[in-house]
Amino acid sequence: MFAFIIRRLIATIPVMLVVAVFVFLMLRLTPSDPAAIIAGDNATAEQVADIRGKLGLNEPILTQFFIWGAKTLRGDLGESFFFKKTVAELISDRIEPTLSLSFFTIVLAVLVAVPLGVLAAKKHGSWIDRIVMGFSVLGFSVPVFVVGYSLIYIFASELRWFPTTGYKRLHDGAGNWAYYLILPTLTLSVVYIALIARMTRTSMLEVLSEDYVRTARAKGQIERKVLFRHALRNAAVPIVTVIGLGIALLIGGVVVTESVYSIPGLGRLTVEAVLARDFPVIQAVILMFSFVYVLINLLVDLVYSILDPRIRY
């Protein structure tokens, strides 16, 4: 197992290298000149040339890549064109809201969706099943911003139970932090609840017709334990796969949700950076998410082997 983790971590190196090459080239292949962007609209040609020199843009492209790579490895992600701060600073400022939102979303989605899916499978064909599946289709098809604005309208504007927008930092008090995250979490988790519930139901339906489920009943086991002890664990691998994919795809939802609720997180930072052609920030964000994605994949594989003893690496 330990050897497997080491091997997988080593295997992330080429993957990250490929990502790095693309990220690096992205900046060089765009039609706009980064030096011109930094210099601003009123800059003279000399000023632009001066900045080009400072940024090392006159070096051969391979040299530029190695310089950039070495800096990145040291944690020096460069300086934002737009915010006039180092990228590392920017990211560390913005990461807390995004992590909080993602964490709550996944936890809520799993806690709600898995029991719902199990219930739907158990009551296969009943009205409960149909309601869960109906909700699931709805959850897939309604865009995140529609869910977001609807929730704001009902729970913030009309009922005034929750704040409409904004974010409170954790060190300013956990109560307020959580309170401000409730609506965004609900918004973002809808699609994941739909996805995970559906997968759980399908996977459970398959497992419930297995012989060992019959064996468990023949032992006199109560239905709840038949479902959760015997069936769910056997049904878990595809569910975990979907949860892993869900986490990887969270970024898209985070961008929209953070924009709707004006949360100063990485999602909004990404949007702002793209609009401002703030390449160092875009590069850093892409690199970071790729790395997270690779790690999640590894984590999912490890969870597989915990869930199913037949899976050994």
């Binding site: 297995e210 012989d211 060992y212 019959r214 064996t215 468990a216 009943r217 023949a218 032992k219 006199g220 086991q221 109560i222 002890r229 015997h230 664990r233 056997n234 869930l307 199913d308 003893p309 037949r310």
Partner: protein, 552 residues
């Protein structure tokens, strides 16, 4: 064994179970009446669809909800009426007073839970024992079913055990609380003969030691003759007749029972004249090795699925390969059909070595070797009609649609089906009919070698006899070389001119079927033969009985 003063463990009276929405019949079982005394083994025999499993599920209240339901009759366990009990009350019965062992021990055990935990679960549900007490009890019962090294095996997962060991775990699970009734639903059908013999012995031993009443469901008369005290014969949901083993096997009253018993192939092979045709297939030192050592796994496990397998089959001859699961018999068949690539050795088909031919060069030879697979329910594409399945091969080899259809129609007639059935789909046929279709599909390619990979193992005995007869008939008609893979010695005895016995990838013995059966040379062959259930049974019926069963 059945003393009159004892009260029956199980008394089923006039039990009728209805099928919701009605299938081909309104009731799955109708008016079933049977009883099991303490310390008695009652075998319920019948073909698939006879209702024997439904009967056992009804007793355990495990009928699939919404599909099958008890409409009348009574089930009494030690005098206690079960049909009126709620599910909650039945949970206290299941595992405690009545327990069940199922057919396929691989799928009946939870693959992600340790064996010990699965046995212990029964104690968790039904007793107040603490963790230590439960563990001691589990180790105890594991010892009593002769599982080797229980201290280790208690923490093993099902996939780490052999089939026989898994079934022992199942039996331990069923017997840990000393139930009054044990229902065994085809518990040895998925096992090899030598393992089957051990499990039957174990069931017998447990039942004697604990005075358990056993309801033993099987389709195998060999097993019945081995283990039964009394026999109940079922057909289409009704009991045809019941009586002691001697009565049913020795002097069956009903025609159906006589037909069933008559259809069981004899272990005494007929004396078939040696075949002198030209050699169609010759394998020379054929090897297949799985899991080679690689750079990353220098200690990787290497399995020799087939090693140095050499044999010949002549035109018009049937060679049987017999052996237990894992002996490599299917691997050899697949190598010959080039469905897997052999590691080394020669496969001469009509004098041409096809063992290492490239896929492109091999293509014209593909039609010469055709296979009929074991499971007719999975070997035909369910989305294509039978005609499409049959003509696909010949059309790939250049026949026009009309020619191929003509051939398909002829072949359907030949295998005993109506040519008009070509536009129907596989699910509209019975298992036996599907296997006939599979044979027609194979013959459509006009092969010189026909491989049957356990082609009758999934079929009921009466159907089995007909399909065997058909295979023998097409062999004669087309002068085919036939390679017949089977684990069933009775079947091998009846259809093969010569047999090769395989063990762990090696052919340990070959010879004329009569000679091998009469005078087995190798130790393993002798062990295999002596493990076959119901040694004496069916032999007096004599060879050639197979041919008397009418075709469809």
């Amino acid at each position: 064994m059945t003393a009159l003063d004892k009260k029956p463990v199980l008394e089923v009276t006039n039990l009728t179970v209805a099928i919701a929405g009605g299938g081909d019949r309104a009731n799955a079982i109708e008016g079933v009446t049977l009883s099991v005394m303490p310390g008695e083994i009652v075998c319920v025999v019948g073909e698939s669809g006879s209702g024997k499993s439904v009967t056992s599920q009804a007793v355990m209240a495990l009928l699939p909800k919404g599909q099958l339901s008890i409409v009348s009759g009574s089930i009494k366990l030690e005098g206690d009426e079960l049909t009126t009990k709620s599910q909650a009350q039945m949970r206290a019965v299941r595992g405690m007073r009545a327990a069940m062992v199922f057919q396929e021990p691989m799928t009946a055990l939870n693959p992600v839970e340790r064996c010990g935990d699965q046995i212990e679960e029964v104690l968790e549900i039904h007793t107040d024992l603490d963790a230590k007490g439960r563990r001691a009890r589990v180790l105890d019962v594991m010892r009593s079913v002769h599982l080797p090294d229980p201290e280790q095996m208690i923490d093993a997962y099902p996939h780490q055990l052999s089939g026989g060991q898994r079934q022992r775990v199942m039996i331990a699970m069923a017997l840990v609380l000393d139930p009054a009734l044990l229902i065994a639903d085809e518990p040895t059908t998925a096992l090899d003969v030598t393992t089957q013999a051990q499990i039957l012995k174990l069931v017998r031993e447990m039942q004697v030691r604990r005075n358990t009443g056993v309801l033993f469901i099987t389709h195998d008369f060999g097993v019945v003759s081995e283990i039964a005290d009394r026999v109940v014969v079922m057909q289409k949901g009704r009991i045809v007749e019941q009586g002691t083993k001697a009565e049913i096997l020795g002097a069956p009253r009903e025609a159906y029972t006589r037909m069933l018993i008559g259809a069981v192939p004899s272990l005494v092979p007929p004396d078939r004249a040696p075949v002198a045709g030209a050699v169609t297939l010759e394998t020379v030192k054929l090897n297949k090795t799985y899991g080679a050592r690689t750079l990353f796994k220098p200690a990787g496990r290497v399995v020799k699925a087939a090693s140095d397998v050499s044999f010949q089959i002549r035109r018009g001859e049937t060679l049987g390969i017999v052996g237990e699961s894992g002996s490599g018999k299917s691997t050899v068949a697949r190598c010959i059909a080039r469905l897997v690539d052999p590691t080394s050795g020669r496969i001469d088909l009509d004098g041409v070595d096809i063992a290492r031919m490239s896929e492109r060069k091999l293509r014209p030879f593909r039609k010469n070797v055709q296979i009929v697979f074991q499971d007719p329910y999975r070997s035909l594409n369910p989305r294509r009609n039978v005609g499409q399945s049959i003509i696909e091969g010949p059309m790939n080899f250049g026949l026009s649609l009309d020619e191929a259809m003509t051939r398909a129609r002829d072949l359907m007639g030949l295998v005993g089906l109506s040519p008009d059935a070509l536009d129907r789909f596989p699910h509209q046929f019975s298992g036996g009919q599907r296997q006939r279709i599979a044979i027609a599909r194979a013959l459509a390619m006009e092969p010189v070698l026909l491989i049957g990979d356990e082609p009758v193992s999934a079929l009921d005995v009466s159907v089995q006899a007909q399909v065997l007869q058909l295979l023998d008939a097409v062999r004669k008609k087309f002068d085919l070389a036939v390679l017949f893979i089977t684990h069933d010695l009775r079947v091998a005895a009846q259809i093969c001119d010569r047999i090769a016995v395989m063990q762990r990838g090696v052919v340990v013995e070959t010879g004329r079927t009569v000679d091998v059966f009469a005078n087995p040379q190798h130790e393993y062959t002798r062990a295999l033969f002596s493990a076959a259930p119901g040694q004496g049974f069916g032999n007096r019926i004599g060879a050639g009985e197979v041919q008397k069963v009418p075709a469809l």
